[in-house]
């Protein structure tokens, strides 16, 4: 799966399922401060990633994830 598809899928579920404002979606967007995702939302991100990409994330995977770009990179690495 190429990076473009990963980005597209993540952006889609963030807007559709997590109800993030579309105009807030940007690679530099901070997941907590800009997209307003809280600790419970991170549990649901694990669910969404499993459903969309078939990979299972654990809490430690998020330690260095600050921005949406970090998140795209994490998923690319996990799938790769």
């Amino acid at each position: 799966m190429n990076k473009e598809v990963i980005v597209e899928k993540i952006n889609y579920f963030l807007v559709d399922e997590f109800e993030v404002e579309e105009e807030e979606i940007a690679p530099q967007a901070n997941l907590k401060e800009t997209l307003e995702l809280d600790s419970l939302d991170f549990v649901d991100l694990v669910v969404a990633i499993e459903a969309n990409f078939g990979v299972k994330l654990v809490g430690e995977d998020f330690l260095k994830v600050i921005t949406l770009q970090d998140f795209y990179d994490l998923i690319e690495k996990k799938i790769g």
Partner: protein, 406 residues
């Protein structure tokens, strides 16, 4: 001790999605009972049920709020919005004042089963998602509504089987009467789905007239053969008289008695003494003679033993030529955890609009019921004070007395 009044009501039930629709159904004797194909396929003896639509609250609530709500909480939210509007309370008031919540609920079967099924399938607890725990706990209604409405007062769920909603109102009454709270949102909620009621159906106590669903629930009738499960939610705003007057709120009624008891006998078979004791205690607390009650909203669920024993208890307390009696479960079915609250609302609507709703499907009362003043057809009659009975498994009993405030 302070006076305790009701200043708002909201209802989401199988006979109407708001107060106005419900009032019409009560007056017209309209049944909300249907045949549910899903139950038949699932293995139910009786596939009859009251049915409500699951509300779509995507526009009213955020994803974070909705994801923690099972159907009980969704119904309760809709009923509570109506009750708050009815009581002229907005979010600014809730933010500035200590308002509590006490709600009756005794199951979240669908939420529990769906989350456990998901864990079994995935063999991973995280993949059940963040909302599952908050949907599956019995206190789901109080935990969700207290968060959504940012409540800062008393906050817990009352689980007392089919008397849950009534005890929730009784508890609110006691807390306000004693000065511990000024205002409490209270009520009862009941899930409606095939996963929730299978074990109840298994006891063989559900009505079997699947050919004519609206005739199946027939409390006090000699041909009754069981209850019809139902659900939804009912919310009341209960507050001190002083608070209501200060706010200029509409005072819809005053709670003057809350009698309770436990049968101390069989887990499912009701008796006569327990209900009789609850009604007598409520009358004593209200300082009323039995003859001063205008209307009794009976618990009567349409089961052979339950209705007969309640009829005997009402006769014991009120004697012959007693008050008008009807069971609104003839129209709604048995709203279980919600019933104690919804039936107070049904009776309040009758008191407000001066009528007694009929005990539909009552053709020939059985021996015990024949001595009661049962109302078979809608009766236009002024009601100044009523008593509402609610009983539940384990022998829990609650009787509330509410009067009109001139």
């Amino acid at each position: 001790m302070r006076r305790v009044v009701i200043t708002g009501m909201g209802i989401y039930s199988c006979i109407g999605k708001n107060l106005s629709e419900v009032k019409e159904s009560l007056y017209n004797g309209t049944s909300g009972i249907v045949f549910d194909e899903k139950r038949k396929e699932f293995g139910y003896r009786s596939a009859l049920t009251g049915m409500v639509e699951e509300p779509d609250l995507k526009k009213q609530l955020s994803r974070r709020e909705r994801i923690s709500m099972g159907e009980e909480a969704l119904y309760a939210y809709v009923a509570t919005i109506e009750a708050l509007e009815n009581a002229k309370i907005d979010q600014d008031f809730l933010d500035a004042n200590e308002v509590g919540i006490l709600y009756g609920n005794d199951s979240t079967a669908r939420s529990v089963i769906e989350s456990v099924d998901k864990i079994r399938e995935k063999k991973d607890t995280t993949l059940v998602g963040s909302g599952a725990i908050f949907k599956a706990m019995n206190s789901t209604v109080t935990m969700n509504l207290s968060t959504i409405f940012r409540l800062t007062g008393i906050n817990f769920t009352v689980s007392a089987a089919c008397a849950s909603g009534s005890h929730a109102i009784g508890m609110a009454y006691q807390l306000i009467k004693s000065g511990l709270q000024e205002m409490i949102i209270c009520g009862g909620a009941q899930e409606i789905n095939e996963l929730a009621m299978g074990s109840f159906d298994g006891l063989g106590v559900f009505a079997m007239n699947i050919d004519d669903p609206t005739k199946a629930s027939r409390p006090f009738d000699k041909d009754r053969d069981g209850l019809v499960p139902s659900g939804g939610a009912a919310t009341l705003i209960v507050e001190s008289y002083e608070s209501a007057v200060k706010r200029g709120a509409p005072i819809l009624g005053e709670i003057i008695g809350y009698g309770f008891s436990s049968n101390g006998e069989h887990i499912s078979t009701p008796n006569v003494d327990g209900p009789s004791k609850a009604m007598t205690k409520a009358l004593q607390q209200a300082g009323l003679k039995a003859s001063e009650i205008d209307y009794v909203n009976a618990h009567a669920t349409s089961t052979p033993v339950g209705d007969a024993n309640e009829a005997k208890a009402i006769l014991e307390v009120f004697g012959e030529n007693g008050p008008c009696v009807s069971s609104t479960k003839s129209m709604t079915g048995h709203e279980c955890w919600m019933a104690g609250a919804s039936e107070v609302i049904y009776s309040m609507l009758m008191m407000e609009h001066s009528f007694v709703a009929p005990n539909i499907n009552l053709e020939t009362p059985d021996e015990a019921a024949a001595k009661l003043n049962l109302v078979k057809k809608t009766l236009n009659k002024k009601i100044d004070v009523f008593l509402s009975n609610s009983f539940g498994f384990g022998g829990t009993n609650s009787a509330l007395i509410i009067k009109k405030v001139p």
